[in-house]
Amino acid sequence: MGNKNKISLLIFALIIFTLPAILQNNYHLMVLNVAALNIMVVIGLNLLMGYAGQISLGHAAFFGLGAYLSAIFTATCGFPLWPAMIMAMVIAGIVAYTIGIPTLKLEGHYLVMATLGFNIIIYIVMVQFDAVTGGPSGFAGIPRLRLGDFTFQSDRQIYYLFWALSIAVLFFSMNLTHSRVGRAMAALSHNEIAAGCAGIDTDGYKVKIFVISGVLASLAGSLYAHYITFISPGTFGFFYSIQVVTMVLVGGMASLWGSVFGAILLTLLPEVLHAVQEYNVLIYGLILMAVLVFFPRGLFPGIAGVFAKRRTAVPPDSREQLALEKRVWCRK
C-alpha cells in the first residue's frame, strides 16, 4: 500500500490509542469496543461486497456461530480460550465454504435469499437447540478473555486488545487489496467474464473471500462473547446482518476506510438515538433509505480519495470536472 495509507493508518492508530486517556466514561469505551468488533465484521463484508462483488445478508450467522461455539467450547466443554476461538473460526470457515460453493453460483437476489435463509436457520437453531445454547434466555457464564495469566477485566483493557486486533485486520486487508489478489478481486467485481478470460479463478476467489469474511465475523463474535460474558440469540438475527451491510454501504463499498468509518458511525448512532429509544428502528430505516437514495456510493468515498495516492494525471483537454476519488479504486 502507498505511503499515504501507511501514514493514515499510523495517525488513526495514534488517535485510537490515546482516546482512552480522554474518555473516562466506561460506557463510552464499551461502545467503542463493540465498534472495533463491528469493524472486523465490516471489513470482511467489504471485501466480499466491494471487491468480490457478492452480497451477504447472513453475516450475523457467522458472528453468532463464533459467539456460541466459543462459549460452548469454553464454558460447557472446558477447552482453553484461544484454541476454542480458533476452533470456532475453523468451523465457521468450513460452514462458509460448504454453503459458499452452491450459494455463490447463484445470482443477485437468489444469493441474497440464500444468505438470508442461512441466517434464519442458524438463528432458529440458536433459539430451539436450548439444551446446548440456552435457548431464548441466552447463555451466561462465558469466561473472560485472557492472555496467559492476565485476565482482561475492565473495558479499558479490552479496548486496547480489540482495537489492536481491529487495526491489525485493517492493516492486513489493506495489504491484500493492494496485492495481486486484490487486483484480481477488483477485476472480478467489475467484470466477471473478462476477469475469467484474463486468467482469474472467479469461482474460487468468490468462495475464498466468503470464507475469509465468515472467519473474520466468527472471530469478532467469539471476542464479543468473552467480553460481554452473556449472549442471546436476539443479537444474531437478521437485523444485525442488515446493520453490517448498511455500515458497508454507508461507508462506501469502494474503500476499506469508508467501512471503518461507516462501522464507527453506525455503532455510535443507536447509542445517540438512545434518548428516543422507541424511534430507534424508524430512524434507522430512514437513515438507511436516505443514504442509499442520495449517497449510493457511500458517505466516505471522498475521504477515501484523500487517503488514496492522488493521481495528478488528468486528460488535458477534458472539459468535465473529474471527481478524482471516483476514478481510481485500487492503489498501486
Partner: protein, 261 residues
C-alpha cells in the same frame, strides 16, 4: 518487452473438431472443424451472426460446445473453465473492450499477468519480501508492455478516458501480459478510423513477427486481406471455405454469403 514466442515442431497449435453449439433451438456453431498453424495470422470472417464471436467464446471456455472438441497443442480444452484456458496460453480481446474501469490503465495490464504470478491471500496480506519482489516484476513488465503499445503517458488514467483506439490497444496489452501462445482478437479495429486501423494492423503484424499466433475476427476486409496468412469463412455456424486470402476473394460461395443471392 513483448516476449518472443518460440515453438517447436510442426503441430497445429489449435484444432477444432465438429464443434457444435446450440442456443435454445438455434445452432450457433454447426460441426465446425479447422486447425491453426503456429506463428500465423488466421482471420475468421463471415456475415453477422455467422458464429464468429461464439467461436471465440467456445475456444476460451465461456461456452462449452455441445458436441465436438477443441484441442490446444493436442490437449482437449472444451470442458475447461476460462481461467484454466488462459493459464494454458490462450488469451483474447472482446468485441467491445471489456476493460476494468475501476482501476488504472497500468493496473489493468498488471491484472493480465495473473496467470503467470503466484502470490495468494497470505502473501498478499502479509506482504513478505518474496511478494514484494513479484509485485516489482509485475509492475516493470506491465510498464514495458505499455511502452510497446504506446500507452505509457496514460498509465495512471482510467480506461474510460482513453480513446477507442487506445482502449483496444490496452485490451490487447492486457491479453499479452499473460504471455499467451495464442491470441484471439475480436474485431479489434471496429470503430477505428483509417489511420488508427492501419496503426493497429501494423501492431498486429509486429506481434506476429515476434512469434505470436493470432486468430483475428474482423469485418474490415481491407485489413483482413492485408495482414492475414489464412482465412476461414463462416456462415450460419458452418465453415463454407478456407484458404489463402486471394483464393477466398474469388470463391463464389463466400461472395454469395456476403452479398446474398
Amino acid at each position: 518487452m513483448v516476449q518472443e514466442v518460440t515453438f517447436q515442431g510442426n503441430q497445429k497449435i489449435l484444432e477444432t473438431r465438429e464443434v457444435t453449439l446450440r442456443f435454445g433451438g438455434l445452432e450457433a456453431l454447426n460441426g465446425l472443424s479447422f486447425s491453426v498453424t503456429p506463428h500465423q495470422i488466421v482471420s475468421i470472417i463471415g456475415p453477422n451472426g455467422a458464429g464468429k464471436t461464439t467461436l471465440l467464446n467456445a475456444i476460451t471456455g465461456v461456452y462449452s460446445p455441445h458436441c465436438g472438441e477443441i484441442f490446444f497443442h493436442g490437449t482437449p480444452i472444451s470442458r475447461l473453465k476460462p481461467f484454466q484456458i488462459a493459464a494454458l496460453g490462450i488469451n483474447r480481446t472482446f468485441q467491445q473492450a471489456q476493460l476494468f474501469s475501476n482501476m488504472s490503465v497500468l493496473q489493468n495490464v498488471m491484472v493480465g499477468m495473473h496467470p503467470k504470478t503466484r502470490a495468494g491471500f497470505l502473501s498478499g496480506a502479509l506482504h513478505p519480501p518474496g511478494e514484494r519482489r513479484e509485485e516489482k516484476k509485475i509492475r516493470e513488465r506491465a510498464e514495458s508492455l505499455l511502452e510497446f503499445f504506446g500507452l505509457v503517458p496514460k498509465a495512471d488514467w482510467t480506461p474510460g478516458h482513453l480513446s477507442i483506439a487506445e482502449q483496444k490497444r490496452l485490451e490487447i496489452s492486457r491479453a499479452m501480459a499473460s504471455e499467451p501462445e495464442l491470441l484471439l482478437l475480436d474485431e479489434p479495429v471496429a470503430g477505428l478510423n483509417i489511420r488508427e486501423t492501419e496503426a493497429l494492423g501494423d501492431l498486429i503484424i509486429r506481434l506476429k513477427e515476434r512469434g505470436q499466433t493470432i486468430i483475428l475476427v474482423e469485418h474490415n476486409m481491407h485489413l483482413v486481406m492485408g495482414i492475414s496468412d489464412w482465412l476461414i469463412v463462416l456462415h450460419h455456424g458452418s465453415k463454407i471455405g478456407e484458404g489463402r486470402p486471394e483464393e477466398m476473394q474469388k470463391d463464389s460461395q463466400v461472395v454469395e454469403a456476403y452479398l446474398g443471392r
